[in-house]
Symmetry: C2
Subunit: 531 residues, 2 copies
């Protein structure tokens, strides 16, 4: 009755707030009520209720497909998977010595890396907030090690600045932050912030800027031991009688601004790239292999899907065995979870409704090229003290990424010598023969690391638009396309539901594939249980 206290669970309360005020209000309330709200993933999916012996045909043995297979079989479904490649994982893929593949156009590459060296041509890093992927890694015993995104001693390079000489990230980062702090401290002292900041806050702000910006007692940023404590020294402190440190000379703000090198600084703080990131020990495909250890018995490899048909009673998929393609084959099931990339699915006969078909056709796939280069020695560590992380350049190669394992050892090493995405250069490199891609990566990379000339041994180049199983890197949603088509793409259409990174708000990430799959099979199961 009115006035009497009502006991309501936090979950019910949140649901009520969500209904009344929308999701933003709900999630702010969640935080206030002490929920760790930032991931939608709440631990292993629970598919409760009777699957009634239903069968599910899964198309694609990437992470989305194998997640669905693992969970649906556990829930009592009869499951089979058709996979185009001869291996599990899809874009979850690692190239090692002896591996070979053929791209569209017929060029075949065989990887010549030495034992223990590898390239992850697809996904290569795992953010700490990709809770679903991390949970599967835990459940499937995939060992992880840190992936280093930000290495303060790696390089920033602009062709037309500093005479083409690469700069250390730590110098650009510290000098930009220091001089921005100095400017703001000056106007604060000059009373120019008096409208925006209270007097009390101004005093603390000055202290904070001094600490954060490495300013001296007069709020100046200059060559001294204070700035050196952040940016490093011209000569490091040492031992014995040769020990006195010498600070280096900061780079003027104007030079940094005109160099455009400040553009790269945000990469080091982005949520997607923040510490702590991970990579599986030994290569990203350790995850795909771990999944396949669970569901490999369900996978039919070398199976190229050519048509997907459904009626009231079930789904029929036509496919050919790539090893004996003469005779088309058919697979049937009550339901279908299709994880085929939209770039390929849009070319197949599939009888879904007009809205889902329009969604399938609406999403272009982004271009991406990754090039792995093997060198005789880890000169980036030995000569330049660059251990892991990424150097950035405005050259077409965009990035040089250093290996995040095997640190400080003698012997050979493999760099990611180019990571092109979006834009004209990615298409330009895709159009080149593989050997030319590698040669260009070596040529450009030598402008950051002259050692390339004498140390290079061999390379391999994956241009995603030429990979027959994806025809692109990942679904490239615009805001407008998403607003128009995303929900249609994700609906269950009759007996078919789509899953994969393309059916998520985290395109190109493995987490998107898994969360999309869990969401799809959760709804599918609900439908099965109810019918």
């Amino acid at each position: 009755m009115p006035g009497e206290p009502v006991t309501v669970s936090r979950r019910d309360l949140l649901s009520l707030i969500g209904t009344i005020s929308g999701s933003a209000a709900m999630y702010h309330a969640m935080t206030a009520l002490g929920f760790a709200a930032d991931s939608g993933y709440r631990g292993p999916i629970k598919l409760e209720g009777d699957a009634k012996g239903a069968s599910v045909l899964i198309l694609g043995a990437g992470l989305a497909g194998m997640t669905a297979a693992l969970e649906l079989r556990k829930a009592g479904y009869s499951v089979q998977i058709l996979e185009f490649n001869s291996r599990p994982g899809g874009r979850n893929w690692t190239l090692r010595g002896g591996d070979s593949f053929t791209e569209l156009g017929g060029a075949k590459q065989t990887c010549e890396f030495d034992d223990g060296l590898y390239l992850n041509p697809g996904p290569w890093r795992i953010p700490y907030h990709h809770r679903a992927l991390l949970d599967y890694c835990k459940r499937l015993n995939v060992a992880l090690e840190p992936f280093l995104q930000l290495n303060h001693n790696a390089l920033l390079h602009a062709s037309s600045a500093f005479g083409g000489t690469p700069q250390r990230i730590r110098d650009i980062k510290t000098d930009f932050q220091g001089q921005v702090s100095e400017l703001l401290a000056k106007v604060t002292q000059q009373g120019k912030l008096d409208e925006a900041v209270t007097k009390e806050d101004r005093e603390i702000l000055l202290q904070a800027l001094r600490a954060w910006g490495a300013l001296d007692r007069d709020y100046a940023y200059k060559a001294n031991l204070i700035s050196a404590d952040m940016r490093g020294f011209a000569k490091n402190p040492g031992g014995g009688l040769t020990a006195v440190p010498v600070p280096g000379e900061p780079i003027a703000l104007s030079e940094i601004l005109h160099s455009q090198l400040w553009r790269y600084l945000q990469n080091f703080a982005r949520y997607q790239f923040q510490t702590t990131m991970f990579q599986p020990v030994g290569g990203m495909d350790m995850i795909g292999k771990a999944f396949a250890k669970e569901v490999g018995d369900l996978i039919r490899y070398d199976a190229k899907v050519t048509a997907i048909a459904q009626d009231d009673r079930g789904v029929t998929v036509t496919w050919t065995d790539l090893k004996s393609p003469a005779t088309p084959q058919q697979a049937k099931a009550d339901w279908c979870v299709c994880t085929i990339p939209l770039s390929i699915l849009s070319q197949l006969a599939i009888n879904v409704g007009a809205r889902m078909k329009a969604a399938i056709d609406a999403v272009p796939y982004s271009a991406s090229v990754k090039i792995g280069l093997q060198f005789k020695r880890r000169f980036w560590e030995e000569d330049e003290a660059i251990y892991g992380g990424i150097s950035y350049t405005d050259l077409p190669i965009r990035q040089i990424a250093y290996p995040n394992s095997g640190f400080n050892r003698a012997g050979k090493g493999v760099l990611l010598g180019a990571y092109l995405f979006d834009g004209a250069n990615a298409f330009e490199f895709t159009a080149m023969p593989p050997a030319e891609r590698v040669a260009r990566a070596v040529e450009f990379g030598a402008r950051l690391h002259p050692q390339y000339a004498s140390e290079f041994e061999n390379g391999i180049a994956v241009a995603w638009h030429r990979m027959p199983f994806t025809l692109g890197c990942a679904g490239d949603w615009s805001d407008a396309t998403r607003a128009k088509h995303y929900n249609d793409l994700c609906q269950i259409d009759g007996r078919i539901v789509l899953a994969g990174e393309h059916a998520s708000y985290i395109p190109a990430w493995q987490e998107g594939a898994i969360l999309s799959s869990l969401d799809a099979i959760g709804r599918l199961h609900e439908r099965v249980v109810k019918t």
Copy 2:
């Protein structure tokens, strides 16, 4: 003759510049000439010339002593080492289950950690620019893995701010940077920077602040997908039909300023703590053990030095075997490299000149306490997605550091539950019995991690002022003391030269110990060769 070009080597030119203009000018010139100038270490020391069968007695088998032993034996010296402990390494030390030690006052602790878990009570991280230490790790086959200093998802905690609720580092860091950028962008637009920055630079500065500070098109920092891209979300983007992300609400600048949490932000950028840092796989003492594999045959353990005497012909060191202390013993050699901490050396009889003796007596040793805590599960990873790195608090424990290995695995884990240094709290904890130190660390830590209450199993506490072999953590030089005594400390006095972190400009770091040792033996060898 005048006007004619002169060929001069770069090295000679540098030497000339150094002589004329001093070291700062020389090092700036070095950089200009393309030298990678920032470390004084130039690869393995070359002790050329005849050692003439001379003998060297080394006091202490820490990294300084073992470096000297390794290099001097290689150069032809007859070497022996006296070491107080029953193990090599000195402060290079790792505690594992079953290890025990007794501190001053008689309290004995035995480590109860499970297999595979450990605490590094002394040094625990290696900067990428500690070139000498890294070179020895390489030569001695010590495997390294990343040490994570900055974890964006770890915590910042101020007892009196935010109702005592810890904040995520990524929130404080992003919100501070964003609002500082917003303030500077505003005054830039208002024309208040017109004196300090050219018109052209102002335009670029605005672009840079927008990118760096995650500002919107109007240069405002607020809750939206732009700031969320740096600070994270109230609800992360997901997959399928439950995928729409919800940005979180930034923390107001005034709140951040008053919380004082900005004080911790500089720790993440300091040269000493920048990426990429390392730790040896399996514990810091892997380095000491690797050295001992080379020079262990030269070490006499359990040897407590009581007096150091020298005359024109050699050095005589009196010592007692701690396992049969009744009979003092003597060791003699032509030369002595003494790495005994000054805290202990200042209490021994040693006949060096007045200036070196004054230097030995001038340096206090810093206080430090490290406490390791074992928990039933890695709740910081499982519940809070904190993988490695450090949380900071204004409570006496100062830091909670999470293990940088064994990520994402089920099972137990050991935290560094307190790292106290300098200041009253370090002395206060040193004065407590070990069990009370551990209990207090658990009590304080629970304010950041309530899971402590149910998950804690056992702990161990090393208070460095009570460790009989150092009586403190490291040499605590002031600028004034260094100006007065440092050079006297490092001179060769007759037949004795000192080495160790205390004889360096990098106190408390292993690199300081090694560089000091290399500098000392280089000069010693020069003297031997010349005489």
